[in-house]
């Protein structure tokens, strides 16, 4: 009987033949922590090992993205706890406040290959499944365990297969498909499962789109979304992470006769711009249905939609609107990494955004954390490309619509929730 991708990955990592439902211990390729969760890992590790040595300093990385640069003493202290620990342990992969969102930084620095088992104190670690890695968010205890002996337990999950065909209409993009999917399957529609994505729409998609797709698997309670790199994405990854990537793609791809728990097919032709309305990701409507809703702030960024392609899509909408946004909203763009910020500068985007009144920040998790750029006061309504709109998430008593970068910018232009097709004529 054939194996799915996650089964092959777990077999490689555990050295065992596995079946769905088995609990196995996997070797960890990279165990990471951020400025959030990281200090808890360090303090717990030092306590339980009495300041012992980590299993392998080369397989540990730290990223600072939640509150970079630190805006409060406690945050500054936490970051220092990590820096000091890294120094003491000889951990050199420390991506400090000048780098950007962790997973993206790891990717850009060639630390992620298909089939890698990667841990992080971030529930959206699994966006690295966009290049076929089994990355997963865990709590600090899991991280500490991995630092002690380099392994961690996993249940081999069922795999859901999703095939996506068709082409997006102008003004519609991968994020809209995701929002549609969250609405369709619900907040627990991928409960504990691995998800493999196939189909022409996926094969043609950019790395940015694959990141969006896999990051949002979390919002359907999935374990990881997996796409084996191909085409330009594969070329990009080989350049960053080396030729071993090519072997992994061959050996770890799913067997043709693999068994899936579900086999879903979608066609994005005719899909409309979608929005997750307040106050849940699965409260989904078309933007048309919700259009005209009052808004106070627009935010484009986050690990789900903060890459160059996302910002370029927003730029296209702004350009179509003659580089004018509404006076009644505050609009904030946060690139995901320093590399993305540079790309935006080189493309001349930042200049045009600023001319229009948009604020462009340094790369961080920004709004997502509610302790950084753009916390909403009670009663305010935001439009955002982040991945969660739980009540009060970005400020007590505030509400958020989750949308694509294009819909976000269209809303900034009009000052109310707006379908980007109204601008991209």
């Amino acid at each position: 009987m054939g194996k799915t991708m996650i089964q092959k990955i777990i077999q490689r990592a555990s050295g065992k033949e596995v079946q769905v439902g088995d609990r196995v211990w996997c070797k960890i390729d990279l165990s990471t922590a951020r400025d959030f969760g990281g200090p808890n890992c360090v303090l717990q590790f030092d306590e339980v090992t009495e300041k012992g040595k980590v299993w392998d300093p080369d397989k540990i990385a730290f990223t600072f993205d939640l509150q970079a640069p630190a805006h409060a003493e406690k945050v500054a202290n936490n970051q220092k706890i990590i820096r000091d620990f890294a120094k003491r342990q000889g951990i050199t992969k420390v991506f400090d406040v000048n780098w950007g969102i962790g997973q993206h930084v790891l990717l850009e620095n060639g630390l992620v290959k298909p089939g890698d088992v990667i841990l992080g104190t971030d529930s959206h670690m699994n966006l690295l499944g966009g290049v076929g890695a089994f990355a997963t968010g865990v709590g600090n205890t899991d991280i500490v365990a991995s630092w002690i002996n380099g392994t961690l337990w996993f249940r081999v999950p069922e795999t859901m297969k999703i095939t996506v065909n068709g082409s997006f209409a102008r003004g519609v993009c991968m994020r809209d498909f995701l929002t549609f999917l969250v609405g369709k399957l619900g907040a627990d529609g991928m409960f504990f499962k691995a998800v493999e994505f196939y189909g022409e729409t996926i094969e043609k998609s950019s790395l940015a789109d694959r990141i969006t797709l896999c990051s949002m698997v979390t919002e359907m309670s999935g374990k990881v979304g997996l796409i084996m790199p191909n085409g330009e994405v594969l070329d990009w990854l080989v350049k960053r992470a080396g030729t071993e990537v090519l072997d992994r793609v061959q050996t770890l791809k799913a067997d043709p006769d693999a068994v899936y728990s579900e086999d879903l097919h979608f066609d994005v032709t005719g899909l409309e711009p979608m929005a997750s309305c307040p106050d849940a990701p699965d409260n989904v409507k078309t933007v048309r249905e919700a259009a005209g809703a009052h808004i106070d702030q627009v935010h484009i960024g986050s690990c789900s939609n903060g890459r160059f392609e996302d910002i370029a899509a927003a730029f296209e909408v702004l350009k179509a609107a003659n580089f004018q946004i509404s006076d009644s909203v505050r609009t904030i763009i946060t690139p995901s990494t320093r590399e993305v910020m540079k790309q935006c500068a080189e493309a001349g985007f930042i200049q045009k955004f600023l001319e229009a009144g948009v604020i462009f920040t340094n790369p961080t998790c920004s709004l997502c954390t509610a302790e950084h750029y753009g916390v909403l006061p009670g009663g305010d309504v935001g439009v955002s490309t982040t991945n969660r709109n739980f009540i009060g998430k970005v400020g007590k008593g505030s509400h958020t619509y989750l949308v694509s970068p294009m819909t976000a910018m269209a809303s900034a232009v009009k000052g109310v929730l707006t379908d980007p097709r109204d601008i991209l004529k």
Partner: protein, 175 residues
């Protein structure tokens, strides 16, 4: 087995209670688990005073997908520190589940609980009797009964050791 039978008041929550509602983003910089307790459910509409009013021994009762969202272990610590002996839910979000197991913190999967909550078969303030060993749950206020499944397999061994770190230590000692 008397020690497995617990009595306490129910605090009832909906489906999809996310980690921001259990323990908000705003307090992520906290590193001391003891201090985390005071922020429990601060952002949950109508349950803002949970941390002040819940008594050790009270139960958290919820529908499907409890703990969805962030990987923050704070959301487990805070309830554990408040003395909530077990969380009863129809199902738990993946990372929340791991975090609970890794801390030796009991969770029971209770079939039909989501609908029972919606139908008012278990309400805020009801007196519950929970047998952690057998999974039998009685609502003493209205006589309704439920059955919860405790964890099995590897998770059970980890729980029995008191958490992941203790489990690993015990394994290392065996070798």
């Amino acid at each position: 087995m008397e020690q497995n039978v617990l009595r306490g008041k129910a605090w009832v929550f909906t489906d999809d209670v996310d980690t921001d509602l259990i323990y908000h983003n705003k307090y992520l910089a906290e590193t001391d688990p003891k201090k985390m307790a005071q922020y429990s459910f601060e952002y949950y509409p109508g349950k803002e005073k949970f941390a002040k009013e819940a008594k050790p021994g009270d139960f958290v009762v919820a529908g499907r997908n409890f703990g969805t969202g962030s990987s923050r272990e704070h959301a487990v610590y805070c309830l554990k520190e408040l003395g909530i002996p077990v969380v009863l839910a129809e199902s738990f979000a993946r990372i929340y589940y791991r975090n609970a197991i890794n801390n030796g913190y009991p969770v029971l999967f209770v079939k039909g609980l989501s609908d029972a909550i919606k139908e008012g078969k278990v309400k805020d303030g009801d007196e519950l009797e929970v047998n952690i060993a057998t999974g039998e749950i009685k609502d003493l206020t209205n006589g309704n009964t439920f059955h919860g499944d405790a964890v099995t397999d590897l998770e059970k061994d980890i729980m029995a050791s008191g958490g992941l770190i203790e489990y690993l230590k015990a394994q290392a000692a065996k070798k």
